[in-house]
């Protein structure tokens, strides 16, 4: 344990999954073993990093020892470490579930072989993005994430999946290019690309243009209404572990970058914040209605992602521009809650689809097979997404509404309430299908035995439920290293 402090944990967090991806691709026969080992290593590195951040505050690595702005720095403060931990935790359990979902009996060999390198490349990109302090580096990371995510979307290989994947690809590239154009304007104005340069900058037209372009690109990538058009298809048609990663983790990166940029760059005025909140409200309403109308379980879950993204933006806007110094915490808490619960929900929805053989919501109650454990998990995840105590989703919504009330922005409270009611409505469509068996005359078969693929989402759902109890320490951890505030 002696050389533990000398090991550079931020680098390890990025390089461990990268090494795994290289090995898993070069040696496909052992892909699953290498993949799992690499995810475990990454998780261990994140844990070590978190301990250091807890003990010493923000950890900075100056790659190449040049130091920004000439070189590129990696920085792990409370917020980035929290998101790294979220990625590691969700990723670990999705990996465990994937071991079973892509087991030889259920998936063809190719799917199994390609899942691991793509997922590990995705993990590299995610971790890299959370640690990055350089806008161009963020662009490259976004592209790593985009290509790996598109690969995961079309892993199933069906026609609908490929069509949705292509649509996702277009949206992803366009989002990244808008971001790149913004990077160009940042460099034109400031002559540097690091966050420290952004924080020190004076407001200027070019920076406003840069911020607008970057935000537009990020909103497209994070699928905020009305730029959500690509999301339901892509997330509903992917295989279950891939959907869990896409919905739980991938959309969160753009949200995270959005939070960082809006704090670091001079915002033009209140209007932008209100616009974000309004779009979020639109997402809650429109996504809620679409989720009520969805005929398939996975599509409903995908639309619920659109709703939750909207909710996060409402949390961001809850107290106007003045409240931004606090409201990022509500947004971050909701990001965390949604990641854990949605991964659990997609995994369990996939299990239900696998066991029952279809995922038509209307026919769920007449299935001769009852995947009870998966249904239970789905219900637990729904509790967190609806926001009932003591779940993490409840904690997030509580912080949101508290801030909005304190600022007197009652309209955001109202929107949150409506969103909650809508989510109760659409989730109860599914839950009702789990419960009512009166239309069925044949004897009901129990689930097909316990499986690893049942356990992984169950653990995640229980985590989503119980993490709400430790919301206060999580909020305190987020603030380590002053992610946003006077001292950068």
């Amino acid at each position: 344990m002696n050389d533990l402090p000398t090991l550079d944990w931020p680098t390890a967090v990025v390089f461990a999954p990268l090494a795994g991806a290289i090995l898993a691709f070069a040696w496909p026969r052992r892909a699953a073993g290498i993949g799992l080992a690499s995810v475990l290593l990454t998780t261990a590195a994140v844990a070590a990093l978190a301990l250091r951040v807890l003990a010493e505050g923000a950890v900075v690595t100056r790659l190449g020892n040049w130091g920004a702005p000439l070189g590129i720095d990696l920085r792990a403060d409370g917020l980035s470490t929290l998101l790294l931990a979220m990625t590691a935790g969700v990723g670990l359990f999705v990996s465990l579930g994937a071991l079973d979902s892509y087991a030889p009996a259920r998936a063809d060999e190719r799917t199994r072989r390609y899942f691991w390198p793509l997922w590990l490349l995705l993990l590299t990109g995610l971790n890299g993005a959370f640690l990055s302090t350089d806008v161009f580096n963020l662009y490259v990371m976004l592209e790593v994430i985009a290509l790996a995510a598109v690969g995961l979307t079309v892993l199933g290989g069906g026609r609908e999946a490929v069509r949705a994947g292509l649509e996702y690809m277009y949206a992803s590239i366009l989002g990244a290019l808008l971001f790149l154009m913004g990077v160009g304007f940042v460099y034109l104005e400031l002559g540097r690309l690091d966050f420290a340069g952004l924080i020190a900058a004076e407001p200027a037209p070019a920076l406003t243009a840069a911020l607008a372009l970057m935000i537009a690109g990020l909103l497209l990538k994070t699928a905020l209404f009305p730029l959500h058009f690509w999301l339901p298809g892509a997330h509903a048609n992917a295989t279950a572990p891939a959907s869990a990663l896409l919905s739980g983790l991938v959309v969160k990166v753009s949200l995270y970058i959005f939070l960082r940029l809006t704090q670091y760059m001079p915002l033009p005025d209140e209007l932008l914040v209100t616009l974000m909140g309004t779009l979020g409200a639109g997402a809650i309403l429109w996504g809620g209605i679409q989720a009520l109308r969805a005929e398939r379980l996975k599509l409903l879950v995908a639309w619920s992602t659109v709703v939750q993204i909207g909710l996060i933006f409402v949390a961001f806007a809850r107290a106007g521009q003045v409240g931004l110094a606090e409201s990022w915490k509500a947004a971050a808490l909701l990001i965390l809650a949604h990641a854990v619960a949605k991964a659990a929900m997609f995994l369990s929805a996939g299990r239900i689809k696998d066991e029952v053989g279809h995922d038509r919501i209307q026919d769920l109650d007449r299935s001769p097979i009852r995947p009870t454990l998966a249904q239970f998990t789905f219900a637990l995840a729904a509790i967190s997404l609806i926001g009932l105590p003591p779940s993490l989703g409840f904690a997030g919504k509580w912080v949101l509404m508290e801030g909005a009330m304190a600022a007197g922005y009652w309209h955001w409270v109202g929107i949150t309430m409506i969103g909650t009611l809508l989510s109760v409505a659409y989730f109860s469509r599914v839950l009702a299908g789990f419960l009512r068996f009166d239309r069925l005359r044949t004897p009901v078969a129990e689930h097909q035995g316990w499986a690893l693929a049942d356990t992984a989402p169950l653990v995640l759902a229980l985590a989503a439920l119980s993490l709400g109890l430790v919301a206060a320490p999580i909020l305190a951890f987020m603030e380590i290293g002053y992610p946003f505030g006077a001292t950068p």
Binding site: D8, T11, F15, L18, A19, A21, I22, F25, A26, P28, T61, R62, L63, G64, N65, W66, P69, L70, G71, I72, R110, Y114, P117, L118, L121, T124, G125, G128, D134, F136, N137, V140, M141, E143, V144, L147, A148, V150, G151, V154, L155, G157, V162, G165, M181, F185, Y187, L188, E189, G191, R192, A204, P205, A206, T208, A209, A210, A212, L213
Partner: protein
């Protein structure tokens, strides 16, 4: 009287914009791609005018040449089905035209407000050139100052080939066109020349425009020639070697970046005495990976044993 070169610049700029419009407006898909290639070459010319020869080389070789080849081979694959005429409502066109016009106007205003010809990072780069191990500033930025970005760029390339192999499993290649004897003779003549040029570009990158990406792109052209002339046909048995080729650059780059981090050094901090050697080693391996990956991206699907495929007639 203005400088005649400025008049040339104006004409070039207008031609580039006109070509961009023409690419999107051209009805015939083949002509569209050809116009795009012309557009790319003129952009490269503009970048030479802006004293960015490295970028121009990369754009001409990768952004235009290889991208054009990729587009043409895709068109060859899907040419059987002409695009279904989907009418775009005029309202949508006008609305988007207005939106893009607004964005254009806004960006122009923002652009005009920036301090053009600001020093940027030129000074810090110049001050640290000594310690970088190479004499060409762009190579120093790519392989030393911002090496982390470049590593991730190679990772993007790796992700692309993994995704392409995954996406195209089980699809049969459209039969490639027969090119004939004269073309084969040309390929035999051109192959060694291209290898020399690619290696030269890689080598010269240490002190003049050129480097791993441009060299790799030129070497990828070797792969394209081999594939098109059928002097080489990808076999399933070659897959392990190909995979090794794809990951070689990333693995060596990442490995060196980590291995130098001992004795108080951080990752990517090459020891001064070996910086030149290490950078050349990384560049060489990255060049091989780029060349193999780009050629494989052109070929598309993973070579498979025949039993799997045949859903394309």
């Amino acid at each position: 009287m203005t400088d005649p070169l400025l008049i040339f610049d104006v004409i070039l700029g207008l031609a580039i914009v006109a070509l961009a419009v023409a690419v999107l407006a051209m009805h015939d898909r083949f002509a569209m791609i050809v116009l795009f290639i012309v557009f790319g070459l003129l952009s490269a010319l503009a970048w030479v005018r802006l004293s960015a020869p490295d970028v121009a080389l990369a754009e001409a070789a990768i952004g235009t040449g290889l991208t054009g080849a990729l587009l043409l081979t895709t068109l060859h694959h899907i040419r059987a089905t002409p695009p279904a005429p989907v009418p775009v409502p005029a309202g949508a066109i006008i609305a988007n035209l207005g939106l893009c016009g607004l964005i254009f106007g806004g960006l122009v205003v923002a652009f005009l407000s920036t301090p053009l010809q600001a020093p940027g990072l030129a000074l810090p780069v110049a001050q640290n050139m000594e310690a970088s191990g190479v004499a060409h500033p762009v190579t120093a930025v790519l392989l030393n100052f911002r090496a982390y970005d470049t590593l991730m760029e190679v990772v993007v390339l790796l992700a692309a080939i993994v995704a392409v192999w995954m996406v195209e499993r089980g699809t049969a290649q459209a039969p490639s066109p027969v090119m004939g004897e004269i073309y084969r003779g040309f390929a035999r003549l051109a192959l060694p020349a291209i290898v020399i040029i690619g290696t030269y570009l890689l080598w010269v990158g240490a002190y003049a425009p050129g480097g791993a990406f441009q060299g790799g792109a030129v070497l990828a052209a070797v792969g394209l020639l081999l594939l098109l002339s059928r002097l080489y046909r990808p076999q399933p048995a070659h897959r392990p070697l190909a995979r090794l080729g794809f990951v070689l650059g990333t693995a060596v780059f990442a490995g060196i970046a980590l291995l130098v981090a001992s004795g108080g050094r951080v990752p990517f901090e090459y020891p001064a005495a070996h910086a030149k050697t290490l950078i050349l080693l990384i560049e060489g391996m990255v060049t091989i990976s780029i060349a193999v990956t780009l050629a494989a991206l052109f070929h598309g699907r993973e070579p498979e044993y025949a039993s799997v495929s045949e859903n394309h007639k």
